[in-house]
């Protein structure tokens, strides 16, 4: 009687075709997936944990009550709300400009049979490997009156070289020449081909590239740090997060603000985790929309047709 379930279970395993090898593979993959996911999950759970539970520490595997006090505290600090606004405006402007300019140029340059396009392509790609460097950049921006200016976070990255290459390859492989030739015979000119054939066909790719570039712009703090420096009015959210991790004065400002609102003095790590979640949230929201394009985008840039 006792032995009866055992053969049944084995036969079920066999029907699924599962053996030790599969178990090892599955455990490894799931472990890596958890390793990637758990740090963010930990921050999310810990940052909404009520204070008495939070100070006990632990692995923070599941919620024990939800308390949004740290979020209330950081959002009642003006630095935070202001930087979110700066990041939002900067991301929208820089992304729109970058996608328009880069995709238009990539489309034209993909037509290598037209005089000059090969040269322009070489000029663009060369920049991937050779640039002036930090100080020459600084000198240039200074002479253009861009240092300390909001636009230094928008303009310099307008031509995105990596996505230029990906889009160029997409246009030269995916939009068929026969279709364009047929349109040409029907009396369509280059303007018509671009707006009536190429753009509608590439809508999905351009939407994906837009989201990819938006993520880059949301994460960017480099131009602020190098060329604006200490104008707190212009700092993007990524920079506020960096300061929360390294700069005691901002941390004290937030904690004292919380105390003046009547909260108990919050632990610095909890405030940091709440900030991390705020910086991550927009990316997690658009993540499902870009995921279907991963394989396409990566392989278009890398593999010959």
């Amino acid at each position: 009687m006792k032995k009866k379930p055992a053969p049944l279970r084995r036969s079920m395993f066999m029907r699924l075709g599962f053996n030790f090898y599969d178990v090892a593979v599955t455990i490894f993959c799931v472990a890596f997936g958890l390793l990637c996911f758990y740090p963010l999950w930990y921050c999310l759970v810990a940052s909404v944990m009520p204070y008495e539970e939070y100070v006990k520490g632990g692995l923070m595997l599941w919620f024990k009550g939800i308390d949004l006090q740290y979020y209330i505290q950081i959002f009642s600090t003006k630095v935070y709300t202001n930087s979110l606004l700066v990041s939002a405006v900067k991301t929208v402007l820089a992304t729109a400009l970058s996608v328009l300019v880069t995709s238009a140029m990539a489309y034209a340059v993909s037509k290598v049979h037209i005089r000059g396009m090969k040269l322009i392509n070489a000029l663009v790609v060369f920049n991937l490997f050779f640039a002036g460097g930090l100080i020459p950049q600084y000198m240039l921006y200074k002479s253009l009156h861009l240092t300390g200016n909001f636009w230094v976070m928008v303009l310099p990255g307008t031509l995105n070289i990596s996505y230029f290459i990906i889009m160029r390859n997409y246009f030269s492989f995916s939009v068929s020449r026969e279709l364009e030739d047929a349109a040409m015979i029907d009396g369509c000119n280059e303007v018509g081909i671009f707006f009536r054939i190429v753009m509608p066909l590439s809508r999905g790719m351009i939407a994906a590239v837009t989201l990819f570039i938006a993520v880059i712009n949301w994460n960017d703090y480099y131009n602020y740090m190098m060329f604006i420096g200490n104008k707190t009015k212009l700092q993007p959210f990524a920079w506020v997060l960096h300061r929360m991790l390294t700069d005691k004065s901002l941390m004290n400002q937030v904690r004292n603000g919380a105390a003046s609102l009547g909260f108990t003095l919050p632990p610095p790590m909890a405030l940091r985790m709440a900030t991390i979640i705020c910086a991550t949230l927009p990316i997690v929201i658009i993540y499902p929309f870009i995921q279907p394009y991963f394989t396409k985008g990566m392989t278009l840039g890398a593999v010959k047709e």
Binding site: Y21, D22, V25, T26, F28, C29, V30, F32, G33, L34, C36, F37, P39, L40, C43, V55, T102, A104, M105, Y107, K111, I114, I120, L123, V124, V125, N127, F129, G132, G133, L134, I135, P136, M139, L140, L144, L155, T158, I165, E190, F194, V215, N219, D220, Y222, M226, L241, L245, T246, R272, M273, I276, A279, F294, T295, M298, T299, A302, V303, K304
Partner: protein
Amino acid sequence: MHNPPDASGVRSQRTWLQKLLAFLKRYWFLYLLVLPGFVFMIVFNYGPMYGIQLAFKDYHANLGIWGSPWVGLEHFREMIADANFWRAAKNTLIINGYNIVFKTTFTIFLALMLNELRLKKVKSCVQTAAYLPYFLSWVIFAGLVQVFLEYPSSSGSSGGVINQVITFFGGEPINFLTRPDLFRAIVVISNIIKNAGYGTIVYLASMSTINPALYEAAKMDGSNRLQMMLHITIPAILPTIVILLILDLSSLFSANFDQIYNLYNNYVLSTGDVLSTYIYRISLGGGTSFELSTAINLVLQVLGLIVVLITNKFVSKLDIMGIF
């Protein structure tokens, strides 16, 4: 060279002009599409190259870049005599070398494992989780590293998860973030967690093109899954591995600024300071050696360019589209 005055010469000139006009009439729109990008490229990508001459000059703000006196190779001599430069150069090569070796090996292994994973639902969940960190910035990642590796403080905090686990098992907590001997390991591991998942995409795409008949035939011959992986899958993706390895090699001198800047601190400069962070610290990040910074950057760029040109030769020999 010279315009022949006879009638045939005039005619050929006119047809040349007519040709040009006809060409422009047909293609003007494409040149118009190039124009904005071209202007941005000239201003923001080629514009800074004018300032590279600072590497050979003694910069005085009141004289401007052009007016400052030339000093020849002085800043390069200064660079060679600078111990901190050599320290940063060594760290750059070691960290990038570790990153290439360990990240590539791990990425290939992960891709093979994902390819062997037969539960489709589990596979897509793991992929979703593993691709996500690629989109988070290094600032966020540095925050996560800090949260997990925090050292217990005297003010009552019990420290990050890792130290809590160590103390739970009776060990002494480790101050990870201030230990120079652990910094490179933290850099490499965090780089693997952030980027390995996304790196598998190319390998998985290349595995999906393998003809299933090969596996069927191997099954008939009685080979097990491990043997199939070793003798079918790995040989089939070998070209992809070689190309990506070569492309990775070209990043041996690359900047890596974002990762290091967000993870390092004053305690770990001896093993963690790389050239890009050094270039920043001696110039805009507190120092005043603008010319030395430009000179080091120039050397770095030239070395990087040489490596890229060599590797691109290899890649184009392999009959795969190079980047040019």
